[in-house]
């Protein structure tokens, strides 16, 4: 189970992690006023993650014109993430927690994997101020959000934050 503060209505912690190019980033800087899909992923080696991230790549063609953002966090090193991202054809950001600094505070350790000590798969949809809209536990693959659920979450957040939603 993730930390009890990682529930809808609560503010997600402002993670400070390097991106896939090793550049320091803060989560709070990433939405830029847009809704955000924050995806915790085991790592490049996991077939379930490969499948889910290919689905997010499919979704990015909609996000690129819809003012919504995607960020993936894993324990892969930045160089590995950069190669994985390029192989996927992703145009969104990866954050690397290779040092596993946030794994414990978020209580997102996947304790069943003692080889990689990764994040357990979890997807959060966030408002621009990092308030959690929805959380999806993805340890079992069917717990992950479908692309349609992500669209619906982006719609709900966008409707709420765009004052000109209905012109």
């Amino acid at each position: 189970m993730p930390h009890s503060s990682l529930t809808p209505g609560k503010r997600f912690p402002d993670l400070d992690l390097p991106d896939h190019e090793g550049r320091p980033r803060r989560l709070a800087d990433l939405p830029g006023g847009d809704p955000l899909v924050l995806c915790f992923s085991r790592g490049w080696w996991c077939p379930k993650e490969q499948r889910f991230l290919r689905a997010l790549v499919e979704l990015q063609d909609e996000f690129e014109v819809a003012y919504a953002r995607i960020v993936v966090v894993s324990v892969d090193e930045p160089g590995v993430q950069a190669a994985f991202r390029a192989g996927l054809g992703a145009r969104f950001l990866f954050l690397s927690d290779a040092e596993r600094r946030w794994l414990g505070p978020l209580e997102l350790e996947e304790t069943t994997d003692t080889t990689h000590a990764p994040y357990q798969p979890y997807v959060f949809t966030l408002r621009p101020d990092l308030t959690i809209h929805a959380a999806y536990a993805g340890y079992w693959s069917f717990g992950r959000p479908t692309l349609e659920e992500l669209r619906m979450d982006m719609r709900a957040i966008s409707r709420d934050i765009r004052p000109d939603w209905e012109l």
């Binding site: 800087d29 996000f63 690129e64 003012y67 621009p128």
Partner: protein, 146 residues
């Protein structure tokens, strides 16, 4: 920038992501001795719609591999806007000009390389948004309340 105030100056005005312009007083120190790849033309006819497929694809390429290709050399990147609809070019600033031959924006308007101390470091946008915010030159802007 003073050239803009000289009415004898003959050139083109472009909008640029203001975060790219060095302003130490605003917390944006200049990266000294950088190189700018200016993919724009002085020809007033050199303009295409931001919405055109070639400009969209250059922005996609920037997110997919151009920022990564530049790596730590990247200082900043901005498209150059003529108005809310038209693209006049792009500028990539880096600590080394070595990668400029791969600049995806040079497919639209060819690039020239200049030495510059005028730009500040701006991190690449997180992606995958390609659309502009109220006509601002990509990747500038936001719909967030001021």
């Amino acid at each position: 920038m003073a050239a803009y105030a000289d009415w004898h100056w003959r050139g083109r005005r472009f909008g640029i992501d203001p975060r790219c312009l060095a302003d130490p007083a605003a917390g944006r120190p200049a990266v000294l001795g950088a190189w700018a790849h200016v993919c724009a033309s002085p020809d007033p006819a050199a303009q295409v719609l931001f919405d055109s497929t070639e400009v969209q694809q250059a922005r996609r390429d920037a997110l997919a591999w151009w920022f990564a290709r530049l790596g730590d050399d990247l200082v900043c990147l901005s498209t150059l806007s003529l108005d809310a609809s038209y693209y006049g070019g792009a500028i990539t600033v880096a600590r080394s000009p070595d990668a400029f031959a791969d600049d995806p924006f040079a497919r639209i308007f060819g690039g020239t390389v200049e030495r510059t101390d005028a730009f500040a470091r701006v991190l690449p946008p997180p992606g995958p948004v390609l659309e502009r915010y109220s006509g601002a030159p990509w990747p500038a802007g936001s719909f967030a309340p001021a």
